[in-house]
């Protein structure tokens, strides 16, 4: 029961990943693309947590920790680049 619900949740996550990919391509400016990038990284953190569940190894969650940190920094660097004050 719990497993089936979690599988559906994983499927919805994949769908939202693809939907945010659409924003990356439509509408031109860099800021829009960065927002799409940000959303994709946030979804990927959830996806990593789901993979942790599927594979049954709890140690994989370490990767999600590092992921959260690095994605945050990437977005901040692009924001500073846009402000011309890197």
């Amino acid at each position: 029961m719990a497993n089936i619900i979690l599988q559906i949740a994983g499927g919805i996550m994949l769908l939202s990943l693809v939907l945010s990919l659409y924003r990356f391509f439509s509408s031109g400016t860099l800021v829009n693309r960065v927002i799409a990038f940000d959303t994709m990284t946030i979804i990927s953190i959830s996806l990593i947590a789901m993979i942790t569940h599927y594979s049954g190894r709890t140690i994989y969650i370490d990767v999600a920790l590092i992921y959260g940190l690095l994605s945050f920094l990437g977005v901040v660097v692009v924001a500073r680049y846009l402000e011309k004050s890197l």
Binding site: I59, Y60, D62, V63, L65, I66, L69, L70, L73, V76, V77, R80, E83, K84, S85, L86
Partner: protein, 233 residues
């Protein structure tokens, strides 16, 4: 036109080679003999649950030494290239960053440092190790840079940390020759209880040294790409 034709020809040829090489490929169900040996005896010989770590640090320790040397060379060449800045260019002062990122960086830098130290000290138990931990420590430096674009790293401290950890790395390796089986052998310290933090001989020490060295080298590379103008400060 003829150039494009050649490019497509080369790529098609390479694709053909790939297809013919891996047409029959399927993931095997058994390990290769060497990997089987590592898997079955690695835990007893090295005492580290993470087999990747035991391969990187102990079985293939010399490769890691070479890799750290390559990183050092890269940092040296980049600083050699980019050090000669043109003077007299007037830059507009960068936009002052907002208070949120200032406070957040003050809050986050120690946390990031703790996270990096956790990653490389626990390299033999959980995924992670010196290289990842070093990258995270360099990230803390990037965070400081985000808060204050004119922040400058103290190059003397960085150089000191780098050389001391490099020397200690080689020293641990030589101690391995003297006291145990060979270069970078981890049995100079007792193997300890399997799965505990203080176990697996010298692996936590070696990985911490690698982490410090990689972290300082990556920070060095990053600070070379940052443009600080000396006369402005």
């Amino acid at each position: 036109m003829i150039r494009n034709f050649f490019i497509i020809l080369i790529i098609a040829g390479l694709a053909g080679v790939f297809v013919s090489l891996f047409w029959e490929f399927g993931a095997s169900d058994t390990l290769t003999p060497l990997a089987t040996h590592y898997a079955n005896n690695g835990a007893a010989e090295v005492g580290a649950p993470n087999l990747v770590t035991s391969i990187v640090v102990t079985y293939r320790g010399l490769d890691t030494l070479g890799e750290v040397t390559i990183l050092f060379l890269v940092a040296a060449i980049i600083s050699f290239f980019l050090k000669v800045e043109k003077k007299g260019q007037k830059m507009a002062p960068p936009r002052v960053s907002s208070e949120i990122i200032l406070t957040a960086s003050k809050l986050l830098v120690p946390v990031v440092l703790v996270l990096g130290i956790y990653v490389f000290v626990n390299g033999h138990l959980t995924p992670g190790g010196g290289f990842q931990g070093g990258a995270i420590i360099a990230t803390a430096f990037v965070l400081l840079l985000m808060a204050n674009p004119r922040f400058e790293l103290n190059h003397r401290i960085i150089a000191a940390v780098e050389s001391v950890s490099g020397m200690a790395f080689v020293l641990v390796g030589v101690l391995g020759i003297l006291l145990a089986g060979g270069f970078l052998d981890n049995k100079i310290l007792p193997l300890g209880h399997f799965g505990k933090l203080f176990s697996a001989g010298a692996i936590p020490i070696i990985y911490s040294l690698v982490g410090l060295k990689v972290g300082s080298e990556l920070s060095n590379i990053l600070s070379n790409f940052q443009d600080v103008q000396k006369d402005e400060l």
